[in-house]
Symmetry: C2
Subunit: 208 residues, 2 copies
DNA sequence: GTCTATATGTGGATAGAC
DNA sequence: GTCTATCCACATATAGAC
């Protein structure tokens, strides 16, 4: 797994680079202050420019926020798919699912403020924007559903609870780990990823 | 378990009654529009009054919001404690914990919009307000920690994962159930409470 | 207790210089 | 591309009538 590095990454044009710095700065301010109290001047300050200058890169505050929210979704979903595709072909459906779970949390933690910014801001933005952001989320949900269904069929995951419920349980549990206090993410030598994978595995696997 | 009934409940004075109606209306608007887009005029409209009239009951928008957030916390915590106290004395620590888990989710679901309003709004309000709201949350966390620790000592709950992590896992998982689409809360004759209790139980219990 | 009317402040957005 | 200056809409909050 390659570490997420927003600063470098694939070489960006100068313009794309500032655009990305603005997005990351916006995420940081959103997490610290919340959507309502986030002023364009705050965001501009973190990037070292004036509020008005942001309009060269984005049409509006919400346009910028939409980029923040969409970026995290695209990254995490791509990350999970690639992690799954990179698995040896002899993995069972259950093993694939548990790798996907771990990869999803890895990705959430790797993108820093973008994760909590998404979690906290989604329900604050206009409904039309929420609607635009839903399709990719749904698509990822369907992808997870396939992994879950396959693991149920193979007998590795419990069949007494609905697939939709299992999916929400998994996603909801993982999404909120990004809000854990930092010291909690490493306990007794266990990482948050290891601990959550263990808990979810034991929760959803078929009784032996 | 008595059903939460905000309309009736212990007889309220006329003034306390409107105050409560305002709080509930505010919660509904907060969930629908998010904190930033919630205008006092929206809240007033749901209660059937004018925006200015709210200031007879509350000092400011944030004063009202603080009441919304605090109300849910007090109710759910009281509910869990009472449910636990009402248990027969022969229950094992593990059984007590699992009843507490179920009761917590019952309470979250019973108070309607107050739950998602709290979940979504908490990080949007001024930090000073967040600080004022934290102590009761911490207190409840410590209470849960006691239940968890006792169940670990009795050998019913796993000891390979930190108590703090177990607590956050439980609370985080349950808190987001209030965002599930309504039809998902009843599947195959299982209620959300039953399903979540099962999942959490299997996740955290000691391996046999 | 609730209404109407108004003062006030703030922050998103725009225009044009550099 | 970024800055400065300014416009303008809007929602909180206040004052006083009823």
């Amino acid at each position: 797994m390659t570490m997420f590095d927003l600063a470098s990454g694939p070489r960006l044009s100068k313009s794309e680079d500032t655009r990305r710095r603005i997005v990351l700065g916006a995420a940081a301010v959103l997490v610290e202050k919340g959507y309502a109290a986030t002023r364009l001047s705050d965001i501009a300050a973190t990037v070292g420019m004036q509020a008005g200058s942001l309009y060269y890169h984005f049409d509006s505050k919400d346009d910028l926020v939409e980029e923040v929210l969409g970026f995290g979704v695209r990254y995490t979903h791509d990350y999970v798919r690639k992690a799954v595709e990179a698995l040896p072909s002899d993995r069972t459906p259950g093993e694939v699912l548990f790798e996907a779970v771990a990869a999803f949390l890895e990705a959430l933690l790797a993108i820093g403020d973008l994760s909590p910014a998404h979690l906290r801001t989604f329900h604050q933005v206009p409904l039309e924007m929420q609607e635009r952001l839903r399709p990719p989320r749904r698509e990822f949900g369907r992808y997870l559903d396939e992994l879950i269904s396959a693991a149920i069929t193979s007998g590795e995951v419990r069949s007494d609870i609905d697939t939709d419920v299992l999916r929400l349980f998994i996603i909801n549990s993982l999404e909120r780990v990004v809000d854990w206090p930092q010291p909690l993410r490493e306990r007794k030598g266990n990482s948050a990823v290891k601990m959550m994978r263990t808990l979810i595995l034991d929760a959803i696997r078929a009784p032996r």
